[in-house]
Subunit: 242 residues, 2 copies
Protein backbone atom coordinates (compact mmCIF):
# COMPACT_ATOMS: atom_id res chain seq x y z
CA UNK A 1 0.00 0.00 0.00
CA UNK A 2 1.24 3.50 -0.85
CA UNK A 3 2.00 5.79 2.08
CA UNK A 4 1.53 9.52 2.63
CA UNK A 5 2.16 12.42 5.00
CA UNK A 6 0.29 15.69 5.29
CA UNK A 7 2.24 18.76 6.37
CA UNK A 8 0.13 21.72 7.53
CA UNK A 9 2.22 24.91 7.49
CA UNK A 10 1.11 27.91 9.52
CA UNK A 11 1.58 29.74 12.82
CA UNK A 12 -2.19 30.34 12.91
CA UNK A 13 -2.82 26.64 13.54
CA UNK A 14 -0.14 26.40 16.25
CA UNK A 15 -1.47 29.48 18.04
CA UNK A 16 -4.96 27.99 18.10
CA UNK A 17 -6.35 30.88 16.05
CA UNK A 18 -7.40 28.51 13.28
CA UNK A 19 -8.78 24.98 13.52
CA UNK A 20 -7.16 22.94 10.75
CA UNK A 21 -9.74 21.11 8.65
CA UNK A 22 -7.61 20.54 5.55
CA UNK A 23 -5.93 17.43 6.89
CA UNK A 24 -9.30 15.85 7.72
CA UNK A 25 -10.62 16.65 4.24
CA UNK A 26 -7.60 15.10 2.52
CA UNK A 27 -7.42 12.15 4.95
CA UNK A 28 -10.89 11.04 3.85
CA UNK A 29 -9.88 11.31 0.18
CA UNK A 30 -6.74 9.24 0.73
CA UNK A 31 -8.80 6.42 2.24
CA UNK A 32 -10.87 6.39 -0.97
CA UNK A 33 -7.66 6.08 -2.99
CA UNK A 34 -6.24 3.24 -0.92
CA UNK A 35 -3.36 5.38 0.37
CA UNK A 36 -2.24 4.91 3.96
CA UNK A 37 -1.85 8.28 5.70
CA UNK A 38 1.01 7.71 8.14
CA UNK A 39 1.37 11.11 9.77
CA UNK A 40 0.05 14.67 9.90
CA UNK A 41 2.54 17.33 11.01
CA UNK A 42 1.61 20.91 11.80
CA UNK A 43 4.67 23.16 11.63
CA UNK A 44 5.37 26.92 11.81
CA UNK A 45 6.15 29.42 9.02
CA UNK A 46 9.89 28.83 9.37
CA UNK A 47 12.08 28.29 6.32
CA UNK A 48 14.49 25.81 7.91
CA UNK A 49 11.80 23.80 9.64
CA UNK A 50 9.68 23.51 6.48
CA UNK A 51 12.71 22.43 4.47
CA UNK A 52 13.81 19.86 7.02
CA UNK A 53 10.35 18.36 7.64
CA UNK A 54 9.51 18.15 3.92
CA UNK A 55 12.89 16.55 3.24
CA UNK A 56 12.31 13.89 5.90
CA UNK A 57 8.77 13.10 4.82
CA UNK A 58 9.52 13.13 1.07
CA UNK A 59 12.23 10.54 1.49
CA UNK A 60 10.13 8.33 3.78
CA UNK A 61 6.70 8.36 2.10
CA UNK A 62 5.28 7.84 -1.39
CA UNK A 63 3.28 11.09 -1.28
CA UNK A 64 3.68 14.30 0.70
CA UNK A 65 0.93 16.92 0.71
CA UNK A 66 1.51 20.40 2.10
CA UNK A 67 -1.05 23.08 2.93
CA UNK A 68 -0.34 26.76 3.48
CA UNK A 69 2.27 29.43 2.88
CA UNK A 70 1.89 30.05 -0.88
CA UNK A 71 0.19 33.48 -0.75
CA UNK A 72 1.66 36.94 -1.47
CA UNK A 73 2.84 38.05 2.00
CA UNK A 74 6.09 37.92 3.99
CA UNK A 75 4.99 34.81 5.92
CA UNK A 76 4.39 32.84 2.69
CA UNK A 77 7.68 30.97 2.38
CA UNK A 78 6.66 27.45 1.47
CA UNK A 79 7.65 27.68 -2.22
CA UNK A 80 11.11 28.90 -1.28
CA UNK A 81 11.55 26.13 1.31
CA UNK A 82 10.47 23.44 -1.16
CA UNK A 83 12.80 24.77 -3.86
CA UNK A 84 15.62 24.55 -1.31
CA UNK A 85 14.62 20.96 -0.50
CA UNK A 86 15.10 19.88 -4.08
CA UNK A 87 18.08 22.18 -4.82
CA UNK A 88 16.21 23.80 -7.68
CA UNK A 89 15.81 27.54 -8.39
CA UNK A 90 12.56 29.35 -7.56
CA UNK A 91 11.57 31.40 -10.60
CA UNK A 92 8.65 33.55 -11.77
CA UNK A 93 7.25 31.22 -14.41
CA UNK A 94 5.31 32.35 -17.49
CA UNK A 95 2.69 29.60 -17.16
CA UNK A 96 2.01 30.64 -13.56
CA UNK A 97 1.89 34.33 -14.54
CA UNK A 98 -0.75 33.50 -17.20
CA UNK A 99 -2.91 31.69 -14.64
CA UNK A 100 -2.58 34.54 -12.14
CA UNK A 101 -3.27 37.28 -14.68
CA UNK A 102 -6.59 35.68 -15.64
CA UNK A 103 -7.78 36.53 -12.16
CA UNK A 104 -7.38 40.31 -12.47
CA UNK A 105 -9.39 42.88 -14.42
CA UNK A 106 -6.41 44.32 -16.29
CA UNK A 107 -4.57 41.01 -16.56
CA UNK A 108 -0.79 41.17 -16.31
CA UNK A 109 -0.89 44.95 -15.73
CA UNK A 110 -2.42 44.27 -12.31
CA UNK A 111 0.39 41.97 -11.22
CA UNK A 112 2.33 43.95 -8.61
CA UNK A 113 5.41 42.56 -6.84
CA UNK A 114 3.36 40.85 -4.13
CA UNK A 115 1.12 39.12 -6.67
CA UNK A 116 4.09 38.03 -8.76
CA UNK A 117 5.40 36.21 -5.67
CA UNK A 118 2.55 33.76 -6.24
CA UNK A 119 3.97 32.96 -9.69
CA UNK A 120 7.30 31.87 -8.22
CA UNK A 121 7.46 28.13 -8.83
CA UNK A 122 10.41 25.74 -8.44
CA UNK A 123 11.96 24.95 -11.83
CA UNK A 124 10.63 21.66 -13.18
CA UNK A 125 7.51 21.59 -10.98
CA UNK A 126 4.08 20.89 -12.48
CA UNK A 127 1.35 23.45 -11.70
CA UNK A 128 -1.83 22.62 -9.78
CA UNK A 129 -4.70 24.82 -10.95
CA UNK A 130 -7.72 25.60 -8.84
CA UNK A 131 -11.21 26.81 -9.67
CA UNK A 132 -11.38 29.40 -6.89
CA UNK A 133 -8.35 31.68 -7.27
CA UNK A 134 -5.73 32.19 -9.96
CA UNK A 135 -2.73 31.32 -7.80
CA UNK A 136 -1.52 27.81 -8.59
CA UNK A 137 -0.03 25.16 -6.32
CA UNK A 138 2.59 22.80 -7.69
CA UNK A 139 3.92 19.25 -7.72
CA UNK A 140 7.63 18.54 -7.49
CA UNK A 141 8.79 14.92 -7.33
CA UNK A 142 6.42 13.33 -4.76
CA UNK A 143 5.50 16.60 -2.99
CA UNK A 144 2.15 18.29 -3.64
CA UNK A 145 2.18 21.94 -2.55
CA UNK A 146 -1.27 23.45 -1.98
CA UNK A 147 -2.94 26.52 -0.46
CA UNK A 148 -4.01 26.88 3.16
CA UNK A 149 -7.39 28.56 2.62
CA UNK A 150 -9.76 25.57 2.91
CA UNK A 151 -11.88 26.40 -0.15
CA UNK A 152 -8.75 26.67 -2.34
CA UNK A 153 -7.03 23.68 -0.72
CA UNK A 154 -10.08 21.52 -1.43
CA UNK A 155 -10.25 22.72 -5.04
CA UNK A 156 -6.59 21.80 -5.50
CA UNK A 157 -7.12 18.36 -3.95
CA UNK A 158 -9.91 17.81 -6.48
CA UNK A 159 -7.41 18.62 -9.27
CA UNK A 160 -4.79 16.09 -8.15
CA UNK A 161 -6.72 13.27 -6.53
CA UNK A 162 -7.72 11.48 -9.73
CA UNK A 163 -4.10 10.94 -10.69
CA UNK A 164 -2.81 9.42 -7.47
CA UNK A 165 -3.28 6.21 -5.53
CA UNK A 166 -5.10 3.14 -6.70
CA UNK A 167 -8.67 2.23 -7.53
CA UNK A 168 -8.83 0.05 -4.40
CA UNK A 169 -10.13 2.12 -1.51
CA UNK A 170 -9.52 1.18 2.12
CA UNK A 171 -12.98 -0.13 3.02
CA UNK A 172 -14.51 0.11 6.46
CA UNK A 173 -17.37 -1.52 8.34
CA UNK A 174 -18.71 0.08 11.50
CA UNK A 175 -20.99 -1.15 14.26
CA UNK A 176 -22.25 0.81 17.25
CA UNK A 177 -22.51 -1.19 20.46
CA UNK A 178 -24.37 0.28 23.42
CA UNK A 179 -22.10 -0.90 26.19
CA UNK A 180 -18.89 0.24 27.86
CA UNK A 181 -15.62 -0.34 26.02
CA UNK A 182 -14.28 -2.36 28.94
CA UNK A 183 -17.14 -4.89 28.54
CA UNK A 184 -16.13 -5.87 25.02
CA UNK A 185 -12.37 -5.33 25.19
CA UNK A 186 -11.67 -9.10 25.45
CA UNK A 187 -13.62 -9.87 22.29
CA UNK A 188 -11.83 -7.13 20.33
CA UNK A 189 -8.46 -8.24 21.66
CA UNK A 190 -9.12 -11.75 20.43
CA UNK A 191 -9.92 -10.49 16.91
CA UNK A 192 -7.01 -8.07 16.79
CA UNK A 193 -4.74 -10.99 17.68
CA UNK A 194 -6.25 -13.38 15.14
CA UNK A 195 -6.60 -10.95 12.22
CA UNK A 196 -3.49 -8.81 12.31
CA UNK A 197 -4.01 -7.60 8.72
CA UNK A 198 -7.34 -6.00 9.66
CA UNK A 199 -7.28 -2.65 11.43
CA UNK A 200 -9.75 -2.78 14.32
CA UNK A 201 -10.55 0.51 16.07
CA UNK A 202 -12.63 0.97 19.19
CA UNK A 203 -14.05 4.46 19.82
CA UNK A 204 -16.19 5.21 22.88
CA UNK A 205 -18.91 7.82 22.54
CA UNK A 206 -21.26 9.63 24.86
CA UNK A 207 -24.21 11.19 23.04
CA UNK A 208 -26.11 13.17 25.68
CA UNK A 209 -25.74 10.44 28.28
CA UNK A 210 -26.14 7.46 25.91
CA UNK A 211 -22.85 5.60 26.22
CA UNK A 212 -21.49 3.26 23.62
CA UNK A 213 -18.61 2.18 21.44
CA UNK A 214 -18.14 2.44 17.73
CA UNK A 215 -16.11 -0.44 16.36
CA UNK A 216 -14.49 0.18 12.99
CA UNK A 217 -12.83 -2.50 10.86
CA UNK A 218 -10.69 -1.53 7.87
CA UNK A 219 -9.23 -3.55 4.99
CA UNK A 220 -8.99 -3.27 1.21
CA UNK A 221 -10.48 -6.74 0.56
CA UNK A 222 -14.28 -6.55 0.78
CA UNK A 223 -14.81 -10.31 1.15
CA UNK A 224 -12.33 -10.68 3.97
CA UNK A 225 -13.60 -7.54 5.70
CA UNK A 226 -17.21 -8.77 5.60
CA UNK A 227 -16.23 -12.22 6.88
CA UNK A 228 -14.41 -10.90 9.95
CA UNK A 229 -17.01 -8.20 10.55
CA UNK A 230 -19.81 -10.78 10.62
CA UNK A 231 -17.82 -12.95 13.04
CA UNK A 232 -17.38 -10.00 15.39
CA UNK A 233 -21.08 -9.11 15.15
CA UNK A 234 -21.93 -12.67 16.15
CA UNK A 235 -19.61 -12.55 19.15
CA UNK A 236 -21.02 -9.19 20.18
CA UNK A 237 -24.58 -10.51 19.76
CA UNK A 238 -25.33 -7.79 17.24
CA UNK A 239 -27.60 -8.37 14.23
CA UNK A 240 -25.79 -9.05 10.96
CA UNK A 241 -25.98 -5.82 8.99
CA UNK A 242 -23.85 -6.57 5.96
CA UNK B 1 10.09 31.21 26.10
CA UNK B 2 9.19 27.60 26.95
CA UNK B 3 8.41 25.30 24.01
CA UNK B 4 5.93 22.49 23.53
CA UNK B 5 4.74 19.76 21.16
CA UNK B 6 1.35 18.10 20.98
CA UNK B 7 1.22 14.46 19.86
CA UNK B 8 -2.22 13.20 18.82
CA UNK B 9 -2.27 9.39 18.82
CA UNK B 10 -4.96 7.54 16.88
CA UNK B 11 -5.71 5.81 13.60
CA UNK B 12 -9.16 7.41 13.64
CA UNK B 13 -7.64 10.84 12.99
CA UNK B 14 -5.40 9.58 10.17
CA UNK B 15 -8.30 7.78 8.47
CA UNK B 16 -10.36 10.98 8.54
CA UNK B 17 -13.05 9.32 10.67
CA UNK B 18 -12.49 11.84 13.45
CA UNK B 19 -11.66 15.55 13.22
CA UNK B 20 -9.07 16.30 15.89
CA UNK B 21 -10.12 19.24 18.07
CA UNK B 22 -7.91 18.48 21.09
CA UNK B 23 -4.83 20.14 19.64
CA UNK B 24 -6.76 23.35 18.93
CA UNK B 25 -8.18 23.38 22.47
CA UNK B 26 -4.75 22.94 24.04
CA UNK B 27 -3.04 25.33 21.58
CA UNK B 28 -5.27 28.17 22.81
CA UNK B 29 -4.43 27.33 26.42
CA UNK B 30 -0.68 27.32 25.73
CA UNK B 31 -0.89 30.83 24.27
CA UNK B 32 -2.45 31.96 27.56
CA UNK B 33 0.45 30.40 29.45
CA UNK B 34 3.14 32.00 27.30
CA UNK B 35 4.27 28.62 25.92
CA UNK B 36 5.32 28.43 22.28
CA UNK B 37 3.70 25.43 20.56
CA UNK B 38 6.29 24.35 18.02
CA UNK B 39 4.63 21.34 16.41
CA UNK B 40 1.56 19.13 16.37
CA UNK B 41 2.08 15.55 15.20
CA UNK B 42 -0.72 13.10 14.49
CA UNK B 43 0.57 9.51 14.57
CA UNK B 44 -0.96 6.02 14.42
CA UNK B 45 -1.59 3.47 17.20
CA UNK B 46 1.82 1.88 16.71
CA UNK B 47 4.06 1.06 19.66
CA UNK B 48 7.37 1.79 17.95
CA UNK B 49 6.20 4.99 16.29
CA UNK B 50 4.73 6.38 19.51
CA UNK B 51 7.93 5.54 21.41
CA UNK B 52 10.17 7.11 18.79
CA UNK B 53 8.13 10.29 18.29
CA UNK B 54 7.68 10.89 22.03
CA UNK B 55 11.40 10.32 22.56
CA UNK B 56 12.30 12.88 19.90
CA UNK B 57 9.85 15.50 21.10
CA UNK B 58 10.60 15.01 24.82
CA UNK B 59 14.29 15.65 24.28
CA UNK B 60 13.69 18.70 22.04
CA UNK B 61 10.87 20.57 23.84
CA UNK B 62 10.11 21.73 27.37
CA UNK B 63 6.66 20.16 27.38
CA UNK B 64 5.12 17.29 25.41
CA UNK B 65 1.38 16.66 25.55
CA UNK B 66 -0.14 13.46 24.19
CA UNK B 67 -3.78 12.69 23.49
CA UNK B 68 -5.28 9.24 22.95
CA UNK B 69 -4.57 5.56 23.49
CA UNK B 70 -5.07 5.21 27.26
CA UNK B 71 -8.40 3.34 27.24
CA UNK B 72 -9.09 -0.35 27.94
CA UNK B 73 -8.88 -1.90 24.45
CA UNK B 74 -6.19 -3.59 22.35
CA UNK B 75 -5.45 -0.37 20.43
CA UNK B 76 -4.70 1.56 23.64
CA UNK B 77 -0.94 1.26 23.79
CA UNK B 78 0.21 4.75 24.70
CA UNK B 79 1.05 3.95 28.35
CA UNK B 80 3.21 1.02 27.29
CA UNK B 81 5.02 3.10 24.65
CA UNK B 82 5.72 5.91 27.13
CA UNK B 83 7.01 3.47 29.76
CA UNK B 84 9.38 2.10 27.08
CA UNK B 85 10.50 5.65 26.29
CA UNK B 86 11.66 6.24 29.83
CA UNK B 87 12.87 2.66 30.47
CA UNK B 88 10.54 2.34 33.41
CA UNK B 89 8.14 -0.55 34.19
CA UNK B 90 4.40 -0.22 33.51
CA UNK B 91 2.56 -1.42 36.63
CA UNK B 92 -1.01 -1.58 37.93
CA UNK B 93 -0.78 1.10 40.62
CA UNK B 94 -2.89 1.22 43.77
CA UNK B 95 -3.54 4.96 43.50
CA UNK B 96 -4.81 4.53 39.94
CA UNK B 97 -6.94 1.53 40.97
CA UNK B 98 -8.57 3.64 43.71
CA UNK B 99 -9.44 6.40 41.22
CA UNK B 100 -10.85 3.88 38.74
CA UNK B 101 -12.86 1.96 41.34
CA UNK B 102 -14.69 5.12 42.43
CA UNK B 103 -16.30 5.13 39.00
CA UNK B 104 -18.06 1.76 39.35
CA UNK B 105 -21.09 0.73 41.39
CA UNK B 106 -19.33 -2.15 43.16
CA UNK B 107 -15.96 -0.43 43.34
CA UNK B 108 -12.92 -2.67 42.92
CA UNK B 109 -15.13 -5.74 42.39
CA UNK B 110 -16.14 -4.30 39.03
CA UNK B 111 -12.57 -3.94 37.81
CA UNK B 112 -12.17 -6.63 35.17
CA UNK B 113 -8.93 -7.19 33.25
CA UNK B 114 -9.78 -4.60 30.60
CA UNK B 115 -10.55 -1.92 33.18
CA UNK B 116 -7.40 -2.70 35.17
CA UNK B 117 -5.43 -1.88 32.01
CA UNK B 118 -6.41 1.72 32.64
CA UNK B 119 -4.65 1.57 36.03
CA UNK B 120 -1.33 0.61 34.43
CA UNK B 121 0.91 3.62 34.98
CA UNK B 122 4.67 3.96 34.44
CA UNK B 123 6.53 3.70 37.76
CA UNK B 124 7.31 7.17 39.11
CA UNK B 125 4.68 8.99 37.04
CA UNK B 126 2.27 11.46 38.66
CA UNK B 127 -1.44 10.87 38.01
CA UNK B 128 -3.69 13.36 36.19
CA UNK B 129 -7.24 13.13 37.51
CA UNK B 130 -10.26 14.19 35.53
CA UNK B 131 -13.80 15.10 36.51
CA UNK B 132 -15.48 13.07 33.77
CA UNK B 133 -14.24 9.50 34.06
CA UNK B 134 -12.25 7.61 36.66
CA UNK B 135 -9.36 6.67 34.38
CA UNK B 136 -6.36 8.90 35.06
CA UNK B 137 -3.74 10.28 32.72
CA UNK B 138 -0.20 10.75 33.95
CA UNK B 139 2.88 12.96 33.87
CA UNK B 140 6.35 11.48 33.49
CA UNK B 141 9.32 13.85 33.25
CA UNK B 142 8.15 16.51 30.75
CA UNK B 143 5.49 14.33 29.07
CA UNK B 144 1.79 14.79 29.87
CA UNK B 145 -0.27 11.76 28.80
CA UNK B 146 -3.97 12.43 28.39
CA UNK B 147 -7.14 10.83 27.00
CA UNK B 148 -8.37 11.17 23.40
CA UNK B 149 -12.09 11.66 24.09
CA UNK B 150 -12.38 15.47 23.87
CA UNK B 151 -14.49 15.92 27.02
CA UNK B 152 -11.97 13.93 29.09
CA UNK B 153 -8.94 15.48 27.37
CA UNK B 154 -10.23 18.96 28.17
CA UNK B 155 -10.91 18.03 31.80
CA UNK B 156 -7.33 16.73 32.10
CA UNK B 157 -5.91 19.91 30.53
CA UNK B 158 -7.81 21.89 33.17
CA UNK B 159 -6.08 19.80 35.86
CA UNK B 160 -2.56 20.43 34.61
CA UNK B 161 -2.65 23.87 33.03
CA UNK B 162 -2.35 25.88 36.26
CA UNK B 163 0.99 24.29 37.07
CA UNK B 164 2.78 24.87 33.80
CA UNK B 165 4.10 27.80 31.83
CA UNK B 166 4.35 31.37 33.02
CA UNK B 167 1.95 34.11 33.99
CA UNK B 168 2.88 36.05 30.85
CA UNK B 169 0.54 35.07 28.04
CA UNK B 170 1.41 35.56 24.37
CA UNK B 171 -0.75 38.59 23.58
CA UNK B 172 -2.31 39.27 20.21
CA UNK B 173 -3.85 42.25 18.41
CA UNK B 174 -5.97 41.70 15.34
CA UNK B 175 -7.28 44.02 12.64
CA UNK B 176 -9.54 43.13 9.74
CA UNK B 177 -8.76 44.98 6.52
CA UNK B 178 -11.24 44.83 3.65
CA UNK B 179 -8.79 44.59 0.79
CA UNK B 180 -6.82 41.88 -1.00
CA UNK B 181 -3.72 40.51 0.72
CA UNK B 182 -1.59 41.48 -2.28
CA UNK B 183 -2.55 45.18 -1.80
CA UNK B 184 -1.02 45.38 1.66
CA UNK B 185 1.80 42.84 1.34
CA UNK B 186 4.46 45.58 1.03
CA UNK B 187 3.40 47.27 4.25
CA UNK B 188 3.43 43.98 6.16
CA UNK B 189 6.80 43.06 4.71
CA UNK B 190 8.25 46.31 5.93
CA UNK B 191 7.00 45.66 9.47
CA UNK B 192 8.09 42.02 9.50
CA UNK B 193 11.57 43.21 8.51
CA UNK B 194 11.75 46.02 11.08
CA UNK B 195 10.21 44.15 14.02
CA UNK B 196 11.59 40.64 13.85
CA UNK B 197 10.61 39.88 17.47
CA UNK B 198 6.93 40.40 16.66
CA UNK B 199 5.04 37.60 14.93
CA UNK B 200 2.95 39.13 12.13
CA UNK B 201 0.39 36.87 10.45
CA UNK B 202 -1.73 37.67 7.42
CA UNK B 203 -4.86 35.58 6.88
CA UNK B 204 -7.16 36.19 3.92
CA UNK B 205 -10.86 35.53 4.40
CA UNK B 206 -13.93 35.36 2.21
CA UNK B 207 -17.17 35.71 4.14
CA UNK B 208 -19.94 35.15 1.61
CA UNK B 209 -18.22 37.24 -1.02
CA UNK B 210 -16.80 39.89 1.32
CA UNK B 211 -13.04 39.62 0.86
CA UNK B 212 -10.51 40.79 3.39
CA UNK B 213 -7.43 40.03 5.41
CA UNK B 214 -7.06 39.49 9.12
CA UNK B 215 -3.71 40.75 10.36
CA UNK B 216 -2.57 39.29 13.67
CA UNK B 217 0.39 40.58 15.71
CA UNK B 218 1.74 38.54 18.64
CA UNK B 219 4.16 39.36 21.43
CA UNK B 220 4.36 38.96 25.21
CA UNK B 221 5.06 42.67 25.87
CA UNK B 222 1.81 44.62 25.79
CA UNK B 223 3.43 48.05 25.40
CA UNK B 224 5.60 47.01 22.48
CA UNK B 225 2.74 45.13 20.84
CA UNK B 226 0.43 48.15 21.07
CA UNK B 227 3.12 50.48 19.71
CA UNK B 228 3.77 48.41 16.59
CA UNK B 229 0.08 47.63 16.12
CA UNK B 230 -0.80 51.34 16.12
CA UNK B 231 1.96 52.06 13.61
CA UNK B 232 0.60 49.39 11.28
CA UNK B 233 -2.96 50.69 11.67
CA UNK B 234 -1.73 54.15 10.66
CA UNK B 235 0.03 52.79 7.58
CA UNK B 236 -3.06 50.78 6.65
CA UNK B 237 -5.25 53.86 7.17
CA UNK B 238 -7.29 51.98 9.76
CA UNK B 239 -8.72 53.70 12.85
CA UNK B 240 -6.71 53.22 16.04
CA UNK B 241 -8.59 50.59 18.05
CA UNK B 242 -6.28 49.98 21.00
Amino acid sequence: MKTASIIIIGNEILSGRTQDTNSNYLAKMLVQKGISLEEIRVIPDDLNIIESVVNNEASAKDYVFTSGGIGPTHDDITAEAIANCFHTPLIVRDDAVELLAMNYKNGKKDLNTARLRMARIPKGAKLIKNKISGAPGFIIKNVFVMAGVPQIFEAMVQEIILNIGSVNPILSKTVKVFTKESEIADILWNYADRYKDISIGSYPFNNSGVFGVEIVLRHTDRVRLNKVFNEILRDLNEPNTS
